[in-house]
């Protein structure tokens, strides 16, 4: 077998193979210091303050999909990585790799989206780079954004603080992004209801600053979905997380596609949601606050941290319990 000698698509899927690759090849070389624990963004000392720094590359196909395009996705993706690390996003870089033959009007449309998205998030595109490669050497357009933010006072996000009795909250319907992109790519028509959830989450983070010290963990559940995020939380810990199937927020379109294609929505990416783990004392307060904001109307408590051995389980509608595993990858390549 030569999965060790050649990169397969599954290595990029956000599942176990991705994790193995990153651990073996990246963490082994660069894993000390800020990369340790692989947070969404690095928190770095900057004079007396803390700077949050992150980068992300976007290769989504198709470039435009219901609810967004590669441009706003590239802004929100990086903004969200900074936000869920407890930062206020400030500056972004924009690297474009353009394939010969891309229509100028498509490029214009995407750049306009980047501009609108950056302004909606209060970030400035501060530096950038543009490269053009020959036909067939990339696929239309790839975008890289890096971002710098400033740490918001009060947050003490640390997975080690998560303890039995804490609760898990999702800020809205999960998995719509992955399924919307898949539907657009495969021309699967299930009506017009399914749209990507691509959106910034910085306002949701700012809105809970008052309770910041009781917030222990935030993540935007992108590749690998909720299942990957939560499994990472319990890894090597003497805790478990138990979800309740009846509480999980999924849109009708996502449920329909998930059934049609046999893809577990717990494994599918969102691009405008937060998964938070916090003390049970503030769950209701956060839900109330979020539900009063347009980007948080669908917020739900979805699970509880329990005394269990590093596994994520779900209480199904039959009353039985099963585990929630990480996806293997290659479920949905190139969704972000």
């Amino acid at each position: 077998m030569n999965s060790d000698t050649t990169i397969q698509l599954a290595h990029g899927g956000g599942g176990r193979l991705s994790r193995d690759l990153i651990n073996a090849e990246i963490v082994s070389r660069f894993g000390q210091g800020p990369l340790e624990g692989l947070p969404d963004a690095a928190t770095l000392p900057w004079n007396s303050k803390k700077m949050i720094f992150t980068t992300d590359s976007f290769v989504v196909q198709p470039l435009e999909f219901p609810g967004g395009n590669i441009g706003d996705l590239a802004v929100y993706g990086t903004v969200n990585d900074i936000s869920v690390c407890g930062g206020t996003p400030k500056w972004l870089s924009m690297g474009l790799i353009i394939e010969e033959g891309l229509s100028i009007s498509t490029l214009r449309h995407i750049l306009d989206s980047i501009k609108t998205a950056a302004s909606a998030c209060g970030v400035v595109i501060a530096t950038g780079d543009t490269k053009v490669v020959g036909r067939g050497q990339c696929d239309g357009l790839f975008v890289n954004t890096s971002g710098i933010g400033e740490a918001i006072d009060g947050f003490n996000l640390n997975q080690a603080r998560i303890a039995e009795g804490d609760e898990v909250i999702a800020s809205g319907n999960l998995a719509d992004h992955g399924f919307a992109v898949l539907a657009a790519r495969q021309n699967i028509n299930i009506g017009s209801t399914l749209k990507s959830d691509t959106a910034p989450v910085h306002r949701l983070v700012e809105a809970v600053q008052e309770y910041a010290c009781e917030v222990k963990f935030m993540r935007d559940p992108t590749r690998g979905g909720l299942a990957s995020v939560l499994n990472e939380v319990v890894e090597n810990r003497n805790i478990g997380i138990c979800l309740d199937e009846t509480d999980l927020p999924f849109s009708t379109g996502t449920k329909a596609l998930s059934e049609m294609l046999g893809i577990d929505p717990l494994h599918v990416a969102s691009e405008g949601r937060i998964v938070m783990i916090c003390s049970h004392l503030i769950t209701e307060k956060i839900l109330t606050r979020w539900r009063n904001m347009p980007e948080g109307t669908g917020a739900m408590k979805i699970g509880t941290v329990i005394n269990d051995k590093n596994r994520v389980t779900i209480k199904t509608i039959t009353g039985g319990k099963r585990i929630v595993d990480v996806p293997r990858g290659e479920l949905l390549p190139r969704i972000c």
């Binding site: 077998m1 030569n2 999965s3 050649t6 990169i7 397969q8 698509l9 599954a10 176990r16 193979l17 193995d20 495969q186 699967i188 009846t246 009708t252 449920k255 329909a256 059934e259 294609l261 046999g262 596994r311 779900i314 209480k315 199904t316 509608i317 039959t318 009353g319 039985g320 319990k321 099963r322 585990i323 595993d325 293997r328 290659e330």
Partner: protein, 365 residues
Amino acid sequence: MKYIDGFRNPAAASRLRERITDLAGTLKRSGRTATIMEVCGTHTMAIARFGIRDILPDNVDLISGPGCPVCVTEPGYIDAAITLAKKDAMIVTFGDMINVPGSDMTLAQCRAQGASIEVAYSPSSAVALAQQHPDREVVFLAIGFETTIAPVTTLVGTAAGKGIRNLSLLTAFKLVPPALKVLMADPTLEIDAFLCPAHVSAIIGSDAYIPYTGPKGVPCVIAGFEPLDILLGIEGILKQLINEKAEVENQYNRVVRPEGNIKAKKLMEKYLQPVDARWRGLGLVTNSGLEIRREYETFDARKKHNIKIRKGKEPAGCLCGDVIKGKLKPTACPLFAAGCTPDHAVGPCMISSEGSCAAYYKYSR
């Protein structure tokens, strides 16, 4: 989705659970247990996904049978597909086959080495690809049970109708009823009842199970794939066992008719003919497969490309054959979750999305 939600009603599930507990209690008082085999991979996954084993009383055991089409396909089939890919054919397959080990490698590994292997969500993609690449030979990997056979078979008609000459099917179709016969005849298996598949039954009809019931048979209850369907199916089986009956019961009568889907059956008959087929775990089973009829053999990849499907080499230490037959629970295999995981699968039952080992690994370790 409202339709599905109706079959996932927690309150109704809770009532069924109580009834199953009562029936199992009655059975237990007469010192009896119920070993129920589900012979459909989708049932296997649904049972695991909805945690149904977790809520069953201890004298009711659900064992998984040869219900995963990928798993019952022998490694030699993958080898044949890889041979064709290396001869520059474009292979079109459902995603499930991509990571199944052949004798030497998987299709995914073959693709990483540069072969054209396309994953399709619908057989019609194969037609589209053949039209887009008139200079390439396109081979569709046509495996599956009755449910898949009918739609895949339409490819032959479509290609013939459109005059497409660069498309062929590498078939390894399997039929469910002949497998039941083998399982019932095996003295090492003590199966008290079959939970019969939903979609396969929609094609073959509930009458297809009559030969496996009666004085020498067992209860055969057809159930849908939703959690309430499965619970109702189990309830029906327990009632029959208590009353010492062995009948066909069609819990899924909103879809399954006694005679099945006549149109699909006619379509299969038009293009396909019965053939003895080899199953991993069950061996050679008489008339348990279908192959393309001679009149349409230009669409038969085996004949067109003069390729033989051999048995192939089973991975060392792999007990998938026993798992498929229901003789061994996945967790009882020494390799389970040790040498064999979905990422580094030794056998197909761990890799296929409908494999028993995958179901246990994914949902109930």
